[in-house]
């Protein structure tokens, strides 16, 4: 006979969980026993954020301990804690209420309350089970890359009304990208996006504003003497310049294409860039 009462279904749903919630709770110090059993912990981008554009993309797989509480094959699993700042958390919490959950359990406290109960906003992680879903690592990694580049809004859709699309190449990388400069508000935004697209390109030397400090000659020369990559661009006149030599809005206007090259190759462009900066200040 069919017992179609809600509690019966609930029983099915809950009894079959391998009690990972408790185990996770033990591991992290959070008592998660009462929480939503879909493995997306509150604020961790699990129930809210991450899916759309809140979190920082990428894969953060944490291996759950098995029923015995011990870890599985840690050599084969990346252990990453998806730590986010308080601001991001609040962002995510706004999204929580919009998400549908398949089984609405009135007994379960909403995500926000749980966070308040636990009171530990810094420590949470999104947990995933090893080897689930059964997608090969190669494919999973490829997809993780793609999800993060989507955050960069590098969508090459057919309708691009007024955008400033420029081709971006990086020395040594086998393929080009296109970016729409109007999608970014500053050099920092652009360099973050480039960093995601070309993973060996780092912004280490760019400082807080995301701009090369052209006024500091020695720092500039250090950068250009190193094997670090720097972005350069071709302007309206066909000249190749170092990115960052002009205010952002001017840059968007005049940039025709971008090329990321080794600092040592860009060294010839430095004097002109510094001149431009000096003449403006």
């Amino acid at each position: 006979e069919e017992d179609t009462s809600y509690s019966h279904k609930e029983k099915h749903f809950f009894t079959h969980k391998p009690n990972m919630a408790t185990i996770l709770g033990k591991e992290s110090g959070l008592n998660l026993k009462e929480t939503e059993l879909c493995l997306g912990l509150p604020g961790g981008g699990g129930v809210g954020g991450g899916g759309g554009g809140g979190g920082g993309g990428g894969s953060s797989e944490v291996e759950t301990p098995r029923a015995t509480g011990k870890r599985g094959f840690s050599e084969t699993v990346d252990l990453k804690l998806n730590l986010q700042s308080k601001e991001d958390l609040n962002e995510n919490l706004k999204n929580v209420s919009k998400e549908k959950t398949l089984l609405k359990d009135p007994a379960k406290p909403p995500a926000k309350e749980i966070l308040e109960i636990e009171g530990d906003l810094e420590k949470y992680f999104r947990a995933q089970v090893v080897g689930w879903p059964p997608v090969r690592s190669y494919r999973k990694n490829m997809m993780a890359q793609k999800v993060s580049t989507e955050d960069v809004a590098e969508k090459t859709t057919s309708s691009t009304a007024s955008g400033a699309f420029v081709k971006v190449s990086m020395d040594g990388a086998p393929y080009l990208r296109k970016v729409d400069l109007t999608m970014y508000k500053s050099y920092k935004d652009l360099s973050d996006a480039l960093a995601k697209m070309f993973s060996s390109f780092t912004m280490g030397n760019y400082g807080a504003q995301g701009m090369i400090d052209f006024m500091n000659e020695s720092k500039l020369m250090d950068l250009l003497n190193s094997s670090e990559y720097v972005p350069t661009y071709e302007d309206k006149d066909g000249d190749w310049m170092l990115v960052g030599d002009v205010p952002w809005e001017m840059f968007v206007e005049s940039c025709k294409r971008l090329r990321i090259m080794k600092g040592s190759e860009a060294i010839g462009l430095a004097p002109r860039a510094m001149e431009k900066c000096k003449s403006r200040s």
Partner: protein
Amino acid sequence: MEGQAPSPLPDQVLENVLETVLHFLSSRRDRNAASLVCKSWYRAEALTRSELFIGNCYAVSPRRATARFPRVRSLTIKGKPRFADFDLMPLNWGAHFTPWAQALAQSYPSLRRLHLKRMSLTDRDLTLLSLSFPHFQDLLLTCCEAFTTTGLAAIAANCRLLRVLDLAECVVEVADEEVDWISSFPETQEETHLESLVFDCVECPVNFQALERLVARSPSLRKLRLNRYVSMSQLHRLMHRAPQLTHLGTGSFSASELDPEPDYASAFAASKSLVCLSGFREIWPDYLPAIYPACANLTSLNFSYADINAHQLKSVIRHCHKLQTFWVLDSISDEGLQAVAETCKDLRELRVFPVNTREEIEGPVSEVGFEAISRGCRKLQSILFFCQRMTNAAVVAMSNNCPDLVVFRLCIIGQYRPDPETLEPMDEGFGAIVMNCKKLTRLAVSGLLTDRAFGYIGTYGKLIRTLSVAFAGDTDLGLKYVLEGCPNLQKLEIRDSPFGDGALRSGLHHFYNMRFLWMSSCKLTRQACQEVARRLPHLVLEVINSEEGKADDIEILYMYRSLDRPRDDAPKVVTILH
């Protein structure tokens, strides 16, 4: 009559006749049956078997295999079980090819073809292969690992008659020295014998000039699958060198030069024999129109690395009337699936992979697209479908619309997910599949499932050979139904399900008929496994625990039949019970 050789004995004549006749038997099942008739048939069959298939490298030792079948020209060996692909097995678990390489080098000088799946083979193994078989033609490696581009270079350099070099989903390390394996194909050979060169999984750049020259001097080349380090314009050049290609893997499908680009569509138009397209590893959707000229002839299209949306897909798929095999990402959404259903009336195989494997998201594909496919593609034989949401009704619909299904693999990403409309378990949907799809041999289940679902499988799944189960079932009964009800079951992989010792015992009558049983994170105890090992001496029970010397709980049981003693190459985390 003097000086004439004595006429052959009647037995000898019979044996010769037998060999001549058996020579024509190709199916290994037929051959296995023939070998059981009597001793002379056994001998004759053994002498005439030229294609040897070994489904589990540990089921038989290399020595035994080569001793029984001395005249093998084509060999297939499979190693690790499929769940190893998902990081469920320890590194260095086994499936080492080296002992086989040595045995083959000794016993099979005429070896022509080798196909390895989920084996671990080293550069030394590859080098040995390349030097040991003067007639070697075909090397196919699927999901293999532990070798580098150095090994590939040895094959390229030494196998003069090489016809097929297919690397599918392998993990190829880059060698320390800057050896470009493509350049190792001897340039002195005016024409190569290459018919198939597949290296899309090799994660390092190749010397393009060498590749272009290789393609130019390979007039028999029909299959070429490039890796993602080959750009669009390079692809263009290669296509012009080889307009006779039937199977093309397009590499990155993305630009690498800043200058204006050639007319890619013309290259696709010129390749009139193309029937299979894949690649699109870094796809730049602006380039999609280039493939339009080829679409009408395509029977196989693999977009499973291209996250295109419904609109982009539609522009392509509406030309693909002959499509039979289609692999794609769920980024095309239900709308994209509907477009496929409208055009691809001949579709036999569909695989939909997830871009985002998180379970709590809405997910772009669902029962809507699934059901649309079932209505539009009535000839469907094989489906692999990942989704965050599925209803019983849609699965039942597919069971009715697609009675030819042989492979049904549905992966609802969220564990223990019931039908979102009815909140019922997914029992009825899968039940309908096993009931209505009478040719079904492979089944993978998911979602909230009770013992009832397994009851259906045991009752109706009489032809099922492979069954995959995860996070399902209530009690031992579930597994019992399957082990008692499915006489053709050969491969059973179960994880995170509450099946225990009683269930295991219920399969004792059948385990010798199976290739393997995998059970991880279930409820087995060591004692029960020990008991099975005692009662069935030709079974090898590998107990794998993440920590050595674990007492009673079994994390992983990997069990298989074997004619020889248990292996001695297991890592410490593996305990072999006997």
